[in-house]
Point group: C2
Chain length 183, copies 2
């Protein structure tokens, strides 16, 4: 049994039962292996789950399409077409994060932070180029897309849909970032 398969089973049980509702024994059983094989690699449930979450982390490229709108749309693709499993794991772990802060942090670092960092980099670039007005609250605005995507994941267990992302960019982010800006 490969480690990646053990971690995949771990994520499935996490999504189905939540952290408090799953056990290392159940992972071993579902993976067709013994608890010892798991404990040899990870000292406990927390380490196993954190490894399973970290395995989802993928490099995020900062888009460079030539326009602010194009870059924002490209950033939104992480939330609209990212790996569905990552969204479900994020939702499951954040559900337990209030009682297990280290799990919430691991989930955020692996899944939530990289696309948020790409979005922040895009906003910084277009601020430097003078397209985004200096008075715009860029940190807050950069957090809106993640916040809406986060609510969808936690409350509906679905990714953000493309139409909502586009409406958010055209009807909210661009006006807030550039309104009143003299070109």
């Amino acid at each position: 049994m490969l480690e990646s398969a053990m971690l995949s089973v771990t994520r499935r049980l996490l999504i189905e039962h939540g952290y408090d509702g799953m056990t290392v024994e159940a992972v071993a059983k579902a993976a067709g292996t013994g608890k010892a094989a798991l404990y040899r690699r990870w000292p406990g449930k927390s380490e196993l789950v954190i490894a399973a979450v970290r395995a989802l982390q993928a490099p995020v490229v900062v888009p460079d399409t030539g326009s602010l709108r194009g870059d924002l749309l490209e950033c939104a693709r992480h939330y609209t077409s990212g790996h569905e499993e990552a969204a479900l794991v994020m939702g499951a772990l954040l559900s337990d994060a209030t009682r297990h802060p280290e799990l919430g942090k691991a989930a955020y670092d692996a899944i939530g932070a990289p696309p948020a960092a790409a979005l922040a980099a895009v906003i910084r670039r277009w601020t430097d180029r003078g397209v985004i007005k200096a008075s715009a609250p860029i940190e807050l605005i950069g957090g809106l897309l993640p916040a809406i995507a986060f609510r969808n994941v936690v409350m509906r267990r679905t990714r953000l849909d493309v139409g909502t992302a586009e409406t958010l960019i055209d009807g909210v982010l661009l006006p807030a970032l550039t309104a009143g800006q003299v070109d």
Copy 2:
């Protein structure tokens, strides 16, 4: 022992241990009463918790300050100075909502929906008065303040702070609702 005291103990254990981590027996013990006294009133844990959540519901008045900005600031007060316990209960129950949808719905109906409805009413009023441009995606914009407040509650277990709410209104909501509007 008054019902309201039993429900208050229920909320405390819910916040501390989550729905799956609490029992009717623990509520009885913490309330200094017997399980029978609880089961006489509520047939099970789910009904007890839902009653404890519904007891938090308070009437929400739609503000009417004479300006869109004033009304939005008034609406934001539900998120910045609402009962801290309501935010924590909402966070705790939404944490379990993916596994217990009926609890998430009860929490949303009692705590999340009333202030969101007041915000939507304010936005409708100022759309009818022509202050909000017809092309603004009002439903999406009306959801931003609740989404940011929701993320704070789930991820940080804190209410929205006043400064962030004001920045959101002045830097995001008002530009998105009125930018390009000819008065």
